[in-house]
Amino acid sequence: MLINIVLNGKKITREIEPDLLLIDFVRKEGCFSVKRGCETSNCGLCTVFLNDKPVLSCSLLAARADGQQVTTLEGLQEEAAEFGAFIADQGAEQCGFCNPGFIMNALALFRENPEPGEEEIKEYLAGNLCRCSGYEGQLRGILNFLAWKKDKKRGVSL
């Protein structure tokens, strides 16, 4: 079947098998940041945006994204680097395999709720598993990033 998708801002038309999963579709299109960690929708590694909302691309047919916008970390390089630098400053990116999905979902959180509290952060990101970090360094990175953002905003409004 034929589908039209706006992938990272670029309109593409592709002939696909109806049972192709979105994760395999975007990887085929070179969006290798999207990772698979399970077959049961439990790890969050495959998180992408569908019309700016985070979804698990392993649990969605590519056909379902027909006519819609799909964004992966490849399309959010600046935001990823800006926030990711705070994770890097903790050394909390470690093996890195969970990072794209985690960072996608964190960016979604910041868009939805620019000043989340610690519990809100944990709840929102609960579906993003990480086996390396113990989550503590990721949390420190997020809190530092949010503090920096807040300072920046204040600086601008002064």
């Binding site: 790890c43 992966t72 395999f97």
Partner: protein
């Protein structure tokens, strides 16, 4: 120190956080054949017939291999990544007619698409002669059912193995008359502890791709901790010379020991070698759960004898370990259960006896902690029980009995305790956890109680006399350096840590050292990243290598300045004469030396150093868990985990900290939730992340890590290892805390809410 002991960013950090394509499946050629395995549904069976004719006709299928394509009488091999001759028995064939666990490979299928391969897998017809399995490891030794009856089974090392007894290893050692000392003690704690098999659960499953290179050689790119061992294992499995094989690793999405065993490599290697076409095998999460290399299940019988005043006099440990269907890491993991638990204490006498047996479960393997985790749960739990019995504070009891710096440690292979801040770790953790105020338990008034528990831990730093760490350093144009290593950064940050050591010695910027690794064709030989060896051993090799390279830079610099090498000094930027020269040519910049080295020069500006160590200095750690227990539901949550680590000098405090935090949470998972269970037929129940729960970020309060550093003279800049010691304290500390909350002692992990509300009598 300018660069060592600094919290620098990991070299690959920004590439990883921006999601660049650096892992195996991101760089595999698009035209790889998809390789999958048909797996046995039986725990113990002989393949009587296998029909692949219909499956082979599926469009797109390139090849199907079965045991008939593999010489059943050929030499067997092990998939364990260990130095040759491996202590792990040679008990595998690429495809064996005798399948020994549910999930053991029966056929290899390669095809153009995943769909075609899946179709073919479903069309292969196999008939089995089903044999009775042994699933309970208590039943294994001297059972009439033999897991490995075959005559070409082989044990290369004197580890006490005997396949005709289902015995993978046996060992005994000790000092003093253990029975006499125990008989003379006022109190003896005598308990049996049980830890289960648990999964490393790295987020990137096992995976490998293979191609044939320009020279007709097999080029293997794999998510592995052990490129050099891997080369030998593939050669052994395929029965081809090692000259034909090159193994390299890209970024690795976590290992934790799982990738110290060649789980996937041999299958696509075989496909590509036979077909001469590129191929790849990516394990599903399910395969990574049912046919991988989890922690050895162990039963540890501990007797600790002490006097009423608290003096511990003897520790006796007997460990029974379950290696599963194959012996990967069986003979070696078990040793740590005694040798890395008993030496924490000064004793008059000790004994340590162990048996490792085969069963029809998936093979166990290497998982961070490597047997120490199991032994420390047992010994530390026994010491906690002893403290209660003697009515002595558990920290005080430890302070009275721990091995101190300068002690001889008989149970630690008769070695000296050259560096230890364990006493300071105990002192600091008491403050951090507010022990005096919170221990043992506080009623929160809402049906919940909060309690504390403690555990100590030690590990090693490399395998003495065995492990080899190496480094090559060379000077490039402009005077920047390339560091080439054979150890594997699997998220641990060793590329960074090793570059920090090099930059410190070379007095250059951290960014002036680029790192390359690991590739068997290029890297100097290194046994690989395991056994807590990389920072300590490869790090030392880097340090020495950088020093030697400085010598070469001086030599060439002096030559260019027209003097001898002992008349110059190098400050990281310039080689300068100590005495002013008559011609005024006093100094030459490194960049100019580097440039000169590329024209009419006969001095190679590079150096390779290989290092092995006769000692394995233990890092130490103390952990205190604060657990909130809901007495009604049995829900136990770790709300605080306070840990103090002595890893010697932390080369990169950030990376040491995240290592500790991550290891602690894995330990918490093992203590409270993770468990591999089997159906009566021998099938793994927890075959997905749905059933096999690892901690998520809502399952943990906060983890606090601090360092109390001793200085280890044999390590680089005083460093010891960090990677493994950090996983061992949550087990005993949490069990202890739950005892303080409920009054019930737990001798088995994990401790589930059901067991807390309804404890077995």
């Amino acid at each position: 120190m300018k660069i060592v002991n600094q919290p620098l960013r990991k070299k690959d950090a920004m590439q990883l956080v921006t999601g660049q394509p650096v892992y195996m499946d991101d760089i595999a050629p698009a035209n790889c054949l998809v390789v999958k395995l048909l797996r046995s549904p039986h725990a113990n069976a002989i393949v009587t017939s296998i029909n692949t004719a219909i499956a082979a006709k599926v469009p797109g299928i390139e090849a199907i291999y079965t045991w008939e394509d593999v010489d059943q009488d050929a030499r067997r091999f092990t998939c364990a990544g260990q130095t040759y001759p491996e202590p792990s028995p040679y008990d595998r064939l690429l495809l064996d007619r005798h399948v020994r666990f549910v999930g053991d490979p029966v056929a290899i299928v390669a095809g153009e698409t995943e769909k075609a391969v899946d179709k073919a897998l479903s069309l292969i017809k196999v008939q089995y002669e089903i044999l009775e399995p042994i699933l309970d490891f208590h039943q294994s030794l001297d059972n009439k059912i033999l897991i490995h009856p075959e005559d070409n089974w082989e044990s290369l090392c004197p580890v006490g193995a005997d396949n005709k007894r289902n015995l993978c290893a046996h060992d005994e050692c000790g000092a003093g008359d253990i029975e006499a000392v125990l008989a003379d003690c006022d109190v003896v704690i005598d308990r049996v502890y049980h830890t289960k098999a648990v999964q490393q659960t790295m987020m990137e499953t096992f995976r490998t791709f293979c191609t044939i290179d320009t020279y007709g050689r097999l080029n293997v790119v794999s998510s592995t901790q052990i490129v050099f061992h891997c080369r030998r294992i593939i050669a052994n499995a395929l029965h081809i010379p090692q000259t034909k094989i090159r193994v390299s690793k890209p970024r690795i999405g976590g290992g934790f020991g799982a990738k110290q065993t060649s789980i996937t490599e041999i299958y696509p290697a075989f496909v590509t070698w036979m077909t001469k076409k590129p191929s790849k095998l990516i394990f599903s999460r399910e395969e990574s759960m049912i046919a991988s290399t989890p922690r050895h299940e162990m039963e540890v019988h501990v007797r600790v004898g002490a006097m009423n005043d608290g003096k511990i006099r003897a520790i006796d440990v007997y460990t029974l370990s379950n290696t599963g269907a194959y012996g990967e890491h069986g003979p070696t993991t078990v040793g740590l259960s005694g040798h890395k638990s008993i030496p924490l204490y000064r004793t008059e006498s000790y004994r340590f006896v162990s048996d490792v047996v085969y069963t029809n479960r998936m093979s166990a393997g290497a998982y961070r902690g490597y047997g120490a985790t199991q032994g420390l749960f047992a010994v530390e739990s026994a010491v906690n029980e002893l403290a209660a019995k003697l009515d002595i504070d558990p920290i005080e009891l430890r302070e009275m009995n721990i091995a101190r710096e300068g002690d001889m440690m008989p149970a630690y292979y008769d070695s000296w305790n050259t560096s230890s801040a364990l006493d300071r770790c105990l002192k600091r953790v008491r403050e951090m956890s507010r022990w005096d105020e919170k221990y043992p338990v506080r009623d929160m008034g809402n049906g919940k109680v909060r309690s504390l528990g403690i555990g100590m831990s030690m590990q090693g730093s490399s395998i003495p006399f065995v492990d080899v760490g190496s480094a090559t350093l060379k000077v490039n144009d402009d005077g920047f350096y390339t560091l080439i290593i054979g150890s594997a950064d699997m998220g641990t940050g060793c590329d960074t840590v090793l570059a920090q050591i090099a930059a410190e010695v070379l007095e250059c910027e951290y960014d002036d050292v680029t790192v390359f690794g690991a590739d068997t064709d290029v890297s100097p030989y290194d046994s690989g990243s395991y056994a807590s060896s990389t920072t300590y051993l490869t790090g030392k090799a880097v340090e020495i290598c950088a020093q030697k390279l400085r010598g070469k830079i001086c030599a060439l610099g002096a030559q260019l300045l027209g003097c001898s090498a002992d008349e110059v000094v190098f400050d990281g930027r310039c080689v300068t004469r100590t005495q002013p020269a008559a011609d005024g040519k006093n100094s030459i910049a490194l960049a100019d030396i580097a440039t000169a080295s590329m024209c009419g020069n006969s001095v190679a500006l590079e150096e390779t150093v290989t290092k092995s160590s006769p000692v394995s200095p233990p890092p130490y750690m103390v952990g205190v868990a604060e657990v909130e227990v809901d007495l009604l539901t049995g829900q136990a949550e770790v709300i605080e985990f306070n840990a103090v680590v002595d890893c010697g000098t932390p080369i990169n405090p950030n990376l040491a900290r995240v290592q500790a935090e991550g290891g602690i949470l894995q330990g918490i998972g093992m203590a409270l939730m993770e468990n591999i269970t089997y159906t009566p037929e021998g099938r793994v129940v927890e075959n997905s992340l749905m059933q096999y729960k690892i901690p998520s970020r809502v399952d943990i309060g906060h983890i606090h890590v601090e360092f109390e550093s001793s200085y280890e003279g044999t390590g680089p800049f005083g460093a010891k290892s960090i990677g493994e010691v950090v996983i061992n304290t949550p087990g005993p500390a949490i069990a202890h805390a739950i005892y303080n909350a409920t009054g019930h002692r737990y001798y088995e992990l994990p401790i589930t809410p059901e067991q807390i509300v309804m404890p077995e009598k």
